[in-house]
């Protein structure tokens, strides 16, 4: 299956390699570099590249390409999913997944890769098991390690892989028993010129942070489970119970994990939390363009819209923008033509606006298309789909845990065409 792995940074240097079968020369990456050169944007590098003797399947995360070398037929998603899992694990271990972090922790990285894959076939990818095998580096531990010369590798051999519940280790102990759940929903929408919704759907996840002693058995029920159109679960969730009663019943992994991700279909009406009034014009022959943008809240159920960030890729002909925000700050990058406006909180009484002129390249023709506006926002304490957790119960342990549920709505791929 997976033969070798190369990590390539944005400037095209291989800074780490790992081979699981016999060594593949790094010259195989030349094909990748070729494709990289051909692609205008980093995202445009094709994920699957055939070469005469190998196939390269790559994943781009945090501006690092993870290039896997494959020798024979394998489902490409298998490799892609695995590579993403590797990245997630790195992020989990080092907080960030950057070239520097990987280089600093090269030994841990190597140990991880060794455990995650045996002969090209995934072995242990569950972070709980990995953490028992290899302790994640912390500042304290690094210091202690340097003084005492001890190590990151777990002293005890893990029991996890053989425990009753493969995703949870035994003997977990906490003094404060707590379980937090974050219901985070993202709105993906395309709004057209006139402000009507072309498509909108809600993607939600429930992320959990569970720190409970022993082997708790949790059930989480919703007020309105019918909303959830399509769901995917962490392996710990009992599928049958969900099918029958629409109740999530599970023995949680220890620590942070994604319990559930769901989809609220586009058939349901999706509340769009903001509206945009825009007037972006370029006049033929003139070297000036007008830019006028106003944001306002809409269907927010009384909650404040926060951390609003508007960004737009202006046409290539725009040389500079001279704008005046009523609140927040804006930046325009004349090289990438990226305009971004950090609005902050929307005040319904005084709507934020960004007005001004754009200067165009002299003689350049009027752009065909007005730029698309991308919006990011956050609304606290509300799940836009209306999903509500009814109750959370714990069985199997005697203590009373502290429980908390937080709702949040964000904009996902929220685009306004102008």
């Amino acid at each position: 299956m997976i033969h070798s792995l190369f990590l390539v940074n944005a400037s095209g240097d291989i800074f780490l390699e790992k081979h699981w079968k016999s060594v593949v020369s790094r010259s195989v990456c030349d094909y990748f570099f070729e494709a990289q050169e051909r692609a205008t944007e980093p995202e445009n590098v094709p994920p699957v590249i055939p070469t005469p003797h190998h196939y390269l399947i790559s994943v781009l995360r945090h501006r690092i390409y993870f290039v896997a070398v494959i020798q024979s037929e394998v489902p490409p998603l298998f490799v892609i999913e695995f590579l993403h899992r590797v990245v997630d694990t790195f992020q989990d271990y080092f907080g960030v997944c950057t070239e520097a972090a990987i280089k600093d922790n090269v030994v841990v990285v190597y140990e991880l890769l060794e455990e995650m894959l045996d002969n090209g076939f995934p072995l242990a990818t569950e972070s709980n098991i990995l953490k028992e095998l290899i302790k994640p580096p912390t500042i304290l531990r690094t210091m202690v390690n340097t003084i005492t010369g001890s190590t990151n590798v777990g002293e005890q051999l893990p029991t996890g892989q053989l425990s009753v519940v493969p995703w949870r280790r035994t003997g977990v102990k906490y003094t404060n028993n707590e379980a937090y759940f974050d219901v985070v929903e993202e709105i993906d929408a395309i709004i057209d010129k006139s402000g009507s919704t072309i498509t909108a759907e809600i993607q939600g996840v429930i992320d959990a942070c569970v720190k409970l002693t022993g082997m708790p058995d949790l059930t989480l029920s919703f007020m309105n489970p019918r909303l959830l159109d399509d769901v995917s679960f962490h392996p710990c969730v009992r599928f049958k119970r969900w099918e029958a009663e629409r109740i999530l019943s599970f023995i949680p992994p220890d620590g942070n994990f994604r319990l559930l991700s769901y989809h609220v279909s586009s058939q349901n009406l999706v509340a769009i939390p903001v509206y945009v009034k825009h007037n972006i014009t370029f006049r033929e022959g003139s070297s000036q363009g007008r830019f006028d943008l106003t944001l306002g809240p809409k269907q927010t159920m009384g909650k404040a819209v926060e951390s609003v960030l508007v960004s737009s890729q202006l046409p290539r002909g725009v040389l500079n923008a001279n704008l005046n925000p009523s609140q927040g700050t804006y930046t325009f990058d004349p090289v990438t033509k990226m305009l971004s406006w950090d609005v902050g909180k929307i005040n319904p009484q005084k709507l934020p606006s960004l007005k001004g002129t754009m200067s165009l390249q002299a003689g350049a023709s009027k752009p065909d298309e007005n730029p698309t506006i991308n919006i990011q926002l956050k609304i606290q304490q509300m799940a836009i789909s209306g999903l509500k957790v009814n109750r959370l119960d714990m069985y199997g342990e005697k203590y009373k845990p502290f429980k908390g549920i937080k709702y949040m709505t964000k904009a996902g791929k929220f685009q306004v065409r102008t």
């Binding site: 490409p76 090269v106 005492t148 399509d230 009663e245 994604r258």
Partner: protein, 1119 residues
Amino acid sequence: MDAGLSSLRSDAVGAMRTALVSAESLQLSLRTGLSQEEQALTQNKHSPKEIHKSGNEDLKEMLESNKESLKLEAMKRVVGLIAKGKNASELFPAVVKNVASKNIELKKLVYVYLVRYAEEQQDLALLSISTFQRALKDPNQFIRASALRVLSSIRVSIIVPIMMLAIKESAADLSPYVRKTSAHAIQKLYSLDPDQKEQLIEVIEKLLKDKSTLVAGSVVMAFEEVCPDRIDLIHKNYRKLCNLLVDVEEWGQVVIISMLTRYARTQFISPWKDGAMFDENEKAFYDSDSEEKKDETEAKPYIMDPDHRLLLRNTKPLLQSRNTAVVMSVAQLYWHLAPKHEVSIVTKSLVRLLRSHREVQYIVLQNIATMSIQRKGMFEPYMKSFYVRSTDATHIKTLKLEILTNLANEANISTILREFQTYVKSQDKAFAAATIQAIGRCATNISEVTDTCLNGLVLLLSNRDETVVAESVVVIKKLLQTQPTQHCEIIRHMAKLFDNITVPMARASILWLMGEYCERVPKIAPDVLRKMAKSFTAEEDIVKLQTVNLAAKLYLTNSKQTKLLTQYILNLGKYDQNYDIRDRTRFIRQLIVPNEKSGALNKYARRILLAPKPAPVLQSAFKDRDRFQLGTLSHSLNTKASGYQELSDWPEVAPDQSERNVEVIEPIKEWTPIVGKAGKTKKTKSDEKFYSDDEEEKEEEGSESSGSEDSSSSSSSSSEESGSESEEESSEESEKTSTDSGQSSSGSEKSSSESDSDQKKKKTKKKTKKAPQKKSKPTAADSDSDENGNGPVAQASSSSAESSSGSESDSEDDSDSDSVAPQKKKSDAKSKPKVEVKSKKEVSLLDLDDFSPAPTNAPKSTVVSSSLLSDLEGLSLSNVSSTMQVTTPSFCPMKTYELLHHMSGKGLSAKYHFPRQPCLYEPSMVSVQVILTNGSDHCLEEIHIGDRSPGSLSIHCFNTIERLEQEASVTVSMGIDFSDSTQAANFQLCTKENQFSVSIQPAVGELLMPSSLNEQDFCKEQGKLLGMNETSATIAMATANSSSQAINKHILSVANVGQVSSSQNNFHRFAGRTVSSGALVLVSLELKESSTALLTINTDKSVMASMLLRDLKQALAQA
């Protein structure tokens, strides 16, 4: 020795250098020769040393020191070197010494090093082997496993026999983890030495029998690498693999699913044949032990093999996996194996994957593109998910475009074209060009919009961007070719634009059009040729060729005006630099200009050049991708990747299905007796005589043939069938029991204590059973197949008639390893069908009981908790209710009602049914699906819902159907708020010409929606709805309806309610809410003696209650 040599060398180099310095001034030629030599020398020995010396020397020192921390530090640095791809092989001797270190991390790092360099340093690597051999005997399973892992990773052919031995031993290890590692090692050994294949296959065969979920994925992987063609090894493990699948780790799932896909394609017959009987399948769904019956009913057109169904059923939950690869592999399995109408259940999950990372999107979109060509309907409802965002990467955009084009049809084309208009303006010009292509394809595929598209494209001709214009021209050219007659205008317009267009391809296209249709634009074409004659030399080759073509065609049609021009152009072409153009010119000249040599061909010149040309077909680039299995690398690349295995075609005749029997027959057989017993207890005394007869008969027969299974089978089969209805419960029970090993025995005790015979026997048996059970896998996953089998066995032998237990108990006793028992069972099962339909009684029993045990894919974990028991109760029952509600509505036969007969509707006929889904428009509405069919001899237009009388019920109408072709039918959905009454909804169904008054009157049961309650809640709610709110009646039940399955079926067919798990066998509870007001409706059915039952309905809607009661009474009284 080495050091000595190197010092010698360096001396030599030194000497050479001094010599050089003196020689340099003397002879230049000598210098090059010498310096080459010098280079060779330094490269050989000197330079690596010089670069690494400082670093590696002290690493070596550190490694050889006594301090653990120093060694560790050194190893970390070595690993750092390896990671950077630097050569650290010379440290091998120093590193290998530490292989026996006590420090775990140091050891691990040494392993990393060994695996990397052992191949290069074979001799030295051998030093470490003995350490591993020792570790293979370590009491700790993890040490054994890691030793095997490293040992097998050392690619040194000399140790092949040692590896072979280690693998064989580990494959029999007690720890599943070690066995898993040995499965991995098989692949490694195979790639090192393919000669070991035969021996390795033996190990694989052994490991395939393994029941641990940990091992399954890895061994199938090994199977796929080593012997993918040995499909015969799978037969016996097929059902086990299917049942384990849910609990295998996700990576294993992918591998197993793709292997099973291949397997199924060789073993089952195609479910895609015409006239397939799907209702039969649905039955099979509930009836896993009806294989025998299947054989008999072979006469029917198509019946799905129950194993085939098993695979489909067990993979379905995996669509909910968080792992995208798993979802994709299930999707491809459904695509390649499921009956056509079932494939669409994967749609939603595939669309969900589109939210994932860019790379995942890319692969998923590719697969959807291929699927959407064949099955538009699958993805059409999700069309909007494929709308392009400006932030998408280009390859994602083009794929989405491809899919949108595939999905386009008459109904949605306007939406799609509007969307395309936005794309055409995109700043990403490559994408804009692709959009134009897509518009072209839509235009050819859907004749209605051809003109619109063409006009749109013509507008684009005045676009400022060259690529857009060029692409438009090319596409217009193709479109015009399909219908040239009406479009002189466009050709003229294009001729006008000709001067402004510079892209060669576009120019060439216009020229070709001019030539092809020169007779339609008689004035313009010669003028264009004149312009071309002027600029001929400056044009691109492709334009030149078309100019020559144009000239030739004009010469033939309009020689008076163009003769000289043509001559001129041909002369220019004759001396062109490009030989293609010279050739073409020469050919054309001979063809069109008559001279003595040209002969016969000349006469036909006109017919040759102006022959009508077939219009090009604009096709999807994904047209032929379906030759590759979906989800594979080959599919993604559209070329055959190395190691790709073709998916075979369905066999004409299914290979012997009894090949697979071994495993599953066992639990079935084991279950039968319980089942018989449970059935007995449940049917109570009313049927006692019936049953006791049966039992007597059984006993007789049993005693007649005490030892031989064959003859006793008729009786056992009858008992099996009769009992199978209660299998649901029994499996539920067994699930309960298996959830925790401690309780399992008590569970079995409970149930078996009901039978008063054979207590002692049972006790002893239980003892034998307990041992393996406790030890057995922690996961209760496979409860239905193996582990769980143990629980019931105890009950089984005790409760069943003595006759069968006589022979069985023997086998049971030694079947701890379940190797002996299966064989016997197999023979049992085979003989069953023959005797089955002996007596009338049995037949009737068969009919009412054909359903299967709940598919027990089972809960994932087993933890002792009080709540779990009740949890699990819900779990096993879930299958029934959920399948009835949502998952497979086909099970619960949807009654279709006539809305409009085609006679009274002047050809338009309408039928409706209640899909029992929550209404999309408003929650208080009942959703109704209307199927409109045009039975007239002309197209019907503008079908819509007309005026409704004021004050009538609120109705959400369907969108107007613009056009319905002859013989076509369309399904639309609408919502009606009946406000909880059975009052009919009257409205008018209108076409362009006519209006028909129609009415929809709902059955009372359709005004409900299922509500999920558990038993306690049910009782609590019931307590609140007493007195006035309670309606009850004693009803007579048809005997056929006394099984819980039949009851469920009947009740659910009448009313859209949800089943409530019940702890009592003779109690059935159902709960629902009225759609409009949400009032609770509780139905409970208590089975009484002599086929009567007490039916109680609690709700505050008393009218409804009485109506519902009447309906239910009727349904249950029917046989």
